[in-house]
């Protein structure tokens, strides 16, 4: 029995290192889970991109779930995500609210004109102050906010059809079930 101890130790180490390789192959060390999941979305009051004199608040959006999608015209990954929002995003069955993050309003308006807007409403956060309350650290990011204004799901990075099918749509279905 004793002679197998080194072999067992070796197998144990192989298992440990193998786990490390496997874990790092799919787990993204840069992904930071948001502490805001299942907490009320922060209060905000931001101007509409198309009508800067009109302010949109958290309270004005209460009552039905919506997807808050952080984007910007300077963001290349947002352009990758854009076609997905135009098709799969429009088919989610909830309003899409665009959150224009640290962007020049004219650039954002031009970007949406050129690519087409998937959004029902676009709010602009040029200084990026409110984005800090949302824990935004890049773009794109997407928040699912329910009828009571609680953040139910967050995705960091571009939404893909796979992510929507695997994570976002089930989350939306759950939100819709409780508040039809």
């Amino acid at each position: 029995m004793k002679r197998f101890v080194p072999l067992l130790v070796f197998i144990g180490l192989v298992g440990l290192f193998g786990f490390g390789i496997w874990w790092n192959s799919w787990h993204d060390a840069r992904y930071v889970p948001s502490p805001l999941i299942d907490k009320p979305a922060p209060d905000f009051a931001l101007p509409k991109l198309d009508a800067p004199d009109q302010t949109v608040t958290k309270a004005s959006l209460l009552g039905k779930p919506y997807l808050l999608n952080v984007f910007a015209s300077w963001c290349v990954a947002c352009a990758e995500e854009h076609p997905v929002l135009m098709t799969d995003g429009r088919a989610l069955g909830i309003p899409l609210v665009g959150y224009d993050y640290k962007d020049v309003p004219d650039d954002a308006r031009r970007w949406l004109r050129e690519h087409g807007s998937p959004y029902d409403l676009v709010i602009a956060d040029q200084p990026g102050r409110t984005a800090i309350d949302f824990g935004v650290y890049g773009a794109p990011e997407s928040f699912l906010i329910d009828a009571k204004g609680v953040i139910r799901y967050k995705h960091i990075g571009p939404l893909t059809p796979e992510v929507i099918a695997r994570e976002l749509q089930p989350a939306i279905d759950a939100v819709k079930r409780e508040a039809p």
Partner: protein, 192 residues
């Protein structure tokens, strides 16, 4: 306009290697007028040299030196979410600049270091802290190395005891299969 410290006026144009899928705003924007940009660059280059020469860097309007030291100390303990290997004090990322200003403003409001950290943790999770807090989820992180060290110590102690016990006479832990009888001191090594 409050200027933040400009670390490497010549060397660092890009804030950092960005996240592969998430982006942060660019430093320079098309909307800035050329004249403004040129004057800014000139200012920063001059300021950079001046600061590099004097060693005193931080053009935020601090109340006193103690507050400046406190600010530096605090931002060194906070992680930049965009350049995740940099702290807030050193990072040149746009978000880091915003968060430095946020920290500065919270300080002006009389918030304590703990309150400012809580403010950021509430938004960006414990990940913003370079020093992970002690809580059930981090016990393995904090005490794991100690546990491994203790386990190693136990293994070594047991091995040494066995060896010493075997020195005098027959080792009764071992099966008396003839080959090992009376040969105990060597049995820790012979089948390795």
């Amino acid at each position: 306009m409050s200027l933040f410290r400009w670390q490497h006026p010549s060397g660092r144009s890009a804030p950092c290697a960005r996240m592969p899928f998430v982006e942060s705003p660019r430093n320079s924007r098309r909307a800035q007028g050329a004249l403004l940009r040129i004057s800014l660059v000139a200012m920063l280059v001059i300021a950079g040299h001046a600061f590099a020469a004097s060693g005193a860097i931080e053009p935020l309007p601090f109340k006193d030196h103690a507050q400046e030291v406190r600010f530096q100390n605090l931002t060194k303990q906070l992680r930049c979410m965009v350049c995740q290997n940099e702290n807030l004090a050193d990072s040149n990322a746009d978000l880091a600049r915003d968060l430095r200003l946020e920290v500065f403003q919270l300080m002006q409001q009389g918030k304590s270091d703990a309150e400012i950290k809580r403010y950021l943790v509430d938004r960006y999770s414990d990940f913003v802290l370079y020093d992970p807090p002690l809580k059930p989820g981090t016990w393995l992180l904090w005490f794991g190395p100690l546990a491994i060290l203790l386990a190693g110590g136990v293994v070594v102690t047991v091995a040494i005891r066995r060896r010493n016990r075997g020195n005098g006479a027959i080792d009764d832990d071992k099966p008396a299969d003839g080959r090992q009888a009376g040969n105990a001191p060597a049995d820790m090594g012979d089948d390795w």
